[in-house]
């Protein structure tokens, strides 16, 4: 599983017009509200607790060395802090691990948006050869021999351990990982002293000259869409055979015709096979953005400054999504102050569970 943190995004005017007509909320920032919960998987304290145990349980990986928390570490804002996510021993990942904070608000999961719910997402890394490399039939049996799990599944779901219920419990836990009471939330609710003067100026740029809010809006500061900014490939990975193997393997699984010669991440195209989606990635949330470096789907930018410079110059060569912004050094500084300060909510306190 991987992450794509693009704090600021600009669309060309034509796209914006079409976009605004489709979504009345485009450009409007909204304070935190309760997370959406699917009807078929209501939140209960017991389910959340079960999901938390599974989240920290290394049984979910093939060799018992990794849990979900390995790459989504609570002490690193539910990322692993690496440019490219940690991987199954002897393999290498190819994308950045996204934070899990506020994933409940996302309409698409993964950088390429291959699934639409946390329930559908949860089992992917378990099965992935370069992530947890576990067999789902096997993990069901591994959990069925643990009396505490058998009892917990019966209590929570009224039945047996199944892969679907494993995913449902993990998803329920993930829905508790939310960014709340940030200065931005307070500001949007009317507390005009919640932001520093620099952050207020940054907000003006965010919604104005920087055009960030064209794509980063709503509660989660994301349009839940995909944009091809032509983010550069991570030079550290270009000639790494294990990364190339992972990339081609993933492309093969998604029936990418020329997977054997693939040398760069095709992005959303991998899923849709639509030319406009080549090198397009999901607009990330900006909530807690200062804690989730490095940035972009391949972690190529180590700092927010690097991201802002990239966007300010109009993105990568040949992209049609961005135009140069012409932000001055001072304006970038205000924008950074806003991004660092405003969307940073209360720390999420995790009481580590006792894994049975």
């Amino acid at each position: 599983m991987s992450k794509n943190n693009k704090p600021v995004l600009l669309l060309i005017p034509l796209v914006c017009i079409a976009f605004f007509s489709l979504n009345v909320y485009a450009g409007h920032l909204e304070p935190f509200r309760s997370v959406p919960v699917p009807k078929h998987n209501p939140q209960t304290p017991e389910k959340i607790e079960l999901g938390k145990k599974l989240f920290f349980d290394r049984r979910l990986s093939g060799d018992g060395t990794m849990s979900c928390a390995t790459c989504h570490n609570p002490e690193q804002a539910f990322t692993d802090g690496q440019d490219i996510s940690l991987s199954y021993p002897t393999t290498m990942n190819w994308r950045n691990a996204p934070t899990l904070i506020n994933t409940a608000f996302q309409k698409f999961l993964f950088h390429d948006g291959r699934v639409k719910s946390l329930e559908d997402q949860a089992l992917f890394p378990l099965m992935s050869a370069f992530e947890m490399n576990q067999n789902l039939d096997f993990v069901e049996e591994e959990l069925r021999v643990v009396p505490e799990y058998v009892e917990a599944f019966k209590k929570v779901f009224g039945g047996d351990v199944t892969r679907e219920r494993i995913a449902m419990a993990i998803a329920a836990f993930e829905r508790t990982l939310v960014s709340v009471n940030s200065p931005l939330d307070k500001h949007l609710k009317g507390d005009k002293s919640a932001l520093s003067e620099d952050a207020k100026k940054g907000l003006e740029i965010f919604e104005g000259k920087g055009k960030c809010a064209d794509c980063h809006y709503g509660v989660n500061l994301s349009d839940n869409r995909f944009h091809a900014l032509n983010v550069p490939e991570n030079p550290a990975l270009l000639n790494e055979p294990r990364v190339i193997a992972t990339m081609r393997f993933t492309a093969k699984v998604y029936h990418y015709e020329d997977y054997k010669n693939l040398r760069e991440d095709p992005g959303r195209y991998l899923i849709t096979k639509n030319k406009k989606d080549r090198k397009a990635f999901r607009t990330p949330s900006l909530r807690e953005i200062s804690k989730t470096a490095p940035y972009m789907h391949n972690g190529v930018f180590k700092t927010l400054d690097e991201v802002l410079d990239f966007l300010n110059k109009g993105g990568g060569p040949g992209n049609k999504a961005l135009k140069p912004l012409g932000l001055t050094g001072e304006e970038k500084r205000y924008l950074k102050a806003f991004l660092t300060e405003a969307p940073a909510g209360e720390d999420i306190a995790i009481k580590y569970p006792e894994v049975p």
């Binding site: 060799d63 692993d80 802090g81 690496q82 021993p89 002897t90």
Partner: protein, 132 residues
């Protein structure tokens, strides 16, 4: 280590991966090389050549490093450092370590192969807290 000469001590613990045939033997090879003053040279070679770490390959690498091959081979074949390696493995389990590499920098756990700048940042933070 050069940059922090005298202010940093590096302790290596073995944690051969349980699902690799040659990983224990590779740890033995590193220790056998250490006997002849070439631990780091062998360590780097093992990382570079992995997963080609069968017995013949290890002996070939030892030859390339100019080691006394009989002494090296006797040590590896005799599993001379098996007890030490098993002790390290137990320590890892006791510390709830399951990934390699895992660093403990003044007690701060850092999982995964990190860029130098990342480790440097933590080292600098920890050094600030050290009483002179």
């Amino acid at each position: 280590m050069k940059e922090y000469d005298g202010r940093l001590r590096l302790v290596i613990k073995h944690y051969p991966y349980k699902y690799r045939d040659f990983s224990h033997m590779a740890s033995e090879a590193a220790m056998a090389a250490r006997e002849q003053g070439k631990f780091w040279e062998m360590h780097r070679t093992l990382l570079k050549k992995s997963p080609k770490l069968d017995r013949n390959s290890l002996i070939k690498y030892a030859g390339e490093l100019g080691l006394d091959l009989k002494r090296f081979t006797d040590s590896v074949d005799g599993r001379k450092y098996s007890k030490l390696i098993e002790r390290d493995k137990k320590l890892a389990v006791d510390l709830d370590v399951y990934n390699t590499p895992t660093f403990f920098i003044n007690g701060r756990k850092v999982i995964g192969n990190r860029p130098y700048e990342y480790l440097k940042m933590i080292i600098e933070e920890e050094l600030k807290g050290v009483k002179k």
